[in-house]
Subunit: 208 residues, 2 copies
């Protein structure tokens, strides 16, 4: 296995989690091998694209016999740095935070909510699902002490930039933001956005 | 204003909602004009890219004076077909459905949840936020009668394909799915996915 070269395009990296997810469903069906053709059919991606994406990282299949599902899952987890569980800070204990706190996919897919923050005195000290809600004021200390590098922002748009700044000052290097605003983020921090309206508006273009 | 040509790349369409969102924040700051430079700074997109994207649809700014925020918002709403409100069906009245039902951005950005479905007898007839929860069995009739073309799927992965099939048979042409699975969808239907783990896994690649 060659180490991941620096030059792999981000769009390729973005497809690897889809491959891993599809392989997990195949494993749950007690399947042992698959092919780029079958994966492609399930994902709406061409088999050639899948083979090309994977070839950035090594040789994972055998001509004629396809991929060992177990082996390819292991390799994708290794490539994506999911072999150990990442601790995640969740900021915002509203309805969305509640939904995220109850989402059991985190653990199975390499992440674990380690701490929840909110600035609302009515919420601090209470629980969100199984998590105690900590005062957002304690964010720098707790995030730094735990060495947390990944955070999810689930606060209103007006508060999101301040929260992001605080997280980054505290050592966070990857943020998934549900706040409907583009954040100003230094280039060494990875950012992902989850704004349903951006998707809905994009799709509306094609309707009517 | 020329009508949108068919050939505009989807990636360009995907940026228009970001421009519209940024313009809305500028308008809330009582600003009247902006520039591709300012928009670009706010969005982390080059000003040249913004000008090129907008040029697919006409001439919206004046050399030296920039863009009228109000006018450009109007034009983007027109291009994206957001001048009238779209009715949306929400399927799944769990924690995530609860968060979506309470999300006030829908209305301000061109959409309105018109009906909520769930298959759980414990939930049917109760309310989710301000919405009555209808039996998923009634989905074909209600979606068709209301002429709903857009739906949000917030059900577990194992149920999502069946829900999608039913929605599409009932006339839905655009689906935003929160279920962590790739759906099999005919090409005339637009699909968007919201799986936080796909983003987190992609970002984890760059850490460690």
């Amino acid at each position: 296995m060659t180490p991941a070269p620096k030059a792999v395009p981000d769009i390729v990296i973005g497809r690897l989690p889809l491959y891993l997810r599809a392989l997990t469903y195949l494993a749950e069906e007690d399947r042992e091998t698959t092919s780029s053709q079958e994966l492609g059919d399930r994902l709406g991606i061409s088999s050639a694209q899948i083979r090309k994406d994977l070839s950035h990282f090594g040789e994972f299949g055998k001509q004629g016999t396809g991929y060992s599902i177990q082996f390819l899952r292991q390799q994708l987890r290794r490539i994506l740095h999911l072999e150990e569980e990442w601790e995640v800070a969740l900021v915002g204990a509203g309805d969305l935070g509640q939904a995220l706190a109850g989402y059991d996919s985190f653990v199975h897919r390499g992440f674990r909510i380690a701490v929840v923050f909110d600035r609302d005195p009515q919420k601090i000290g209470k629980t969100l699902g199984e998590f105690e809600i900590f005062d957002a004021e304690a964010m720098p200390t707790i995030v730094r002490d735990k060495g947390i590098e990944i955070a999810i922002i689930a606060v209103p748009a007006a508060e999101a930039q301040h929260v992001a700044d605080t997280l980054i000052e505290s050592g966070v290097r990857a943020i998934l933001s549900y706040a409907p605003i583009t954040l100003s983020i230094p280039s060494f921090v990875k950012i992902g956005y989850m704004d349903p309206l951006v998707h809905l508006q994009r799709m509306a273009f094609y309707l009517a």
